[in-house]
Symmetry: C2
Subunit: 271 residues, 2 copies
Amino acid sequence: MTEPSTSGAAAERSTGIEGSSSGTDAGITAGTSAGTSAGTSAGTSASALALQDPVYAEAVVDLLGAVAYGELSAFERLAQDARMAPDLRDKAELAGMAAIEVGHFERLSEYLAALGADPIAAMAPFVQAFDDFHVRTASSDWLEGLVTAYVGDGLAADFYSEIAEFLDADTRRVIIESLRDMGNAEFVVDRVRAAIDRDHRVAGRLALWGRRLMGEALTQAQRVAAERDALSALLAGGVDRPGLDLAAISRLFTRLTENHTKRMDNLGLDA
Amino acid sequence: MTEPSTSGAAAERSTGIEGSSSGTDAGITAGTSAGTSAGTSAGTSASALALQDPVYAEAVVDLLGAVAYGELSAFERLAQDARMAPDLRDKAELAGMAAIEVGHFERLSEYLAALGADPIAAMAPFVQAFDDFHVRTASSDWLEGLVTAYVGDGLAADFYSEIAEFLDADTRRVIIESLRDMGNAEFVVDRVRAAIDRDHRVAGRLALWGRRLMGEALTQAQRVAAERDALSALLAGGVDRPGLDLAAISRLFTRLTENHTKRMDNLGLDA
C-alpha cells in the first residue's frame, strides 16, 4: 500500500535512452515552477529556438494534442465509472481523479494556445483512436474501471515520459506536469486488493482485463504512429536531435511492458 | 451576452431579509481570503462560538452536506451531458464546469471535516432527493443539459445564498465561495441563443423544460425541508438568531422566482 503515484514513478524513473537520459531532471526543473505560467510565458530561449523548426513544432503540437485529448477522454471515462462506485466515498475519489484530468487538459490547452496552435484542432486527429480504445474497453463494473484508471493512466504516463525525452525543456516540463497526480494509485491498489481478498476469483477476471487493456492500448498507439508522420519523424530523430532506432524502440517496449507487469503485480494480478 | 456569472449575481445581490441584509458583504470578505485555509483554520471566534450550539452545528452540517452532494451530483450530471456535446470545444467547456464542481465539493468536505463532521455521512441524507431530481430531469439532448446547468445551478446558488444569510461568517463564506464560477453563464447563454436563432421551435421546447426544472427543484426542496428538522429549525430562527416567518418565506420564493424568470429571459426563453 506504499505504492507511489504512478506518474511520479514514471517521471522519476531514468529511462536510459541514449543521448538524452542525463538531461531529464534539469529539463523538468528548469524554467518557472508554476504550471500555468508555462502556457503564457514565451519559454526559454532554447525551447523557442527548437520550436522555430516547423517540422519539430508540428510534431510537438501533435503530441500535445494527443496528450490533451487523452486527458479529456480520461475525464469522461472516470466520470462515467464514478457512477458505478459502491459508495459515496469512492464516488468522490473518482470525481477528484476526473477533475485532475480536466486541470491537466486545461494547462495543455493553454500551452498549445501559447504556441499559436488551436487546441481543438490539435486534438482532432486523436479523437477516433482514444474513443475506440474507450469503447473497446468500456468497464462493465467498478473494479474494471479502477484497473483501467491505474493500468491505462500508468501506461500512458510511461509512454509520454519516454517521448518527452526527445523534446525541448519547456514542452517536456508541460508534459511531465500533466502526468502528475494521475491514477490515484494508493486508492486503486487498496480497493482492488480488498476485492481480491473478499473473493479470489476476482483476480483471474481482472488479470484478463489488464491484458486486454494492454493489447488495445498498443493497437491504438500503433494506429496513431502509422497515421501521424510528424510524430513518427520526431521519434526517428533528426540531424540535430537524437532519435530511436529499431533497437531503442524494442527497449522502450520492454520498459513499458516491465512497468505494466509491476503495476499489475501491485494490484495483486498476474500480467 | 454580457450576463455576469450566475453565482456572482446571486452572491452580490442584496437579499433584503430583515435583520441580516447589511451583514453579508462583511461576512464574506472577513477572515482569510484563501479558500482552502477556511477548512483547516479554527475560524473566527464568533463562528466558533456559534458552532458550539449543538442544534445550530447540526443544521450547518446538514446544509453543508446538502450543498456538497449537490456539487458532486452536478459534476456527474455535467460529465454525463458533456458526452452529448456537438463538438470538442463544447465538450471541453462542460468538462471544465464539471471540474469546478469537484473543486467546490472538495473544499466543502474539508470544511466539514474541520468542523469534526464526516463529509460522507453529512451528504447521505440528501442523496435520494438530488438523485431523484436528476433522474426526473435527465437531459435528452445537449441543449436541455445546458439549460439545466444554467437554470438549476442558478436556482441552487440563489437558494443557498439566501440561507447563508442566517449563518456564522465562516460558514457563510465557505458556502458563498462554493457557489462561485458555477454554470458558466456566458457560454450557456451563447449556445442556447444561437440554437434558438437557428430554429425558433427550440425556444418552446426549452421553455417547457425550464418550467419542469423549477417544479422538480421545488418538489425536492420541500421534501428535504420536511425531513430535516435541524434545517427547518435553522430557517425558523431562534432566540439569538433571526429567522424566516411565513411572510419572509413568501418573499424568498418571490425572489427565487424572479431570478429564475430573469435567467430564462437571458436564455431567450419564456419562464
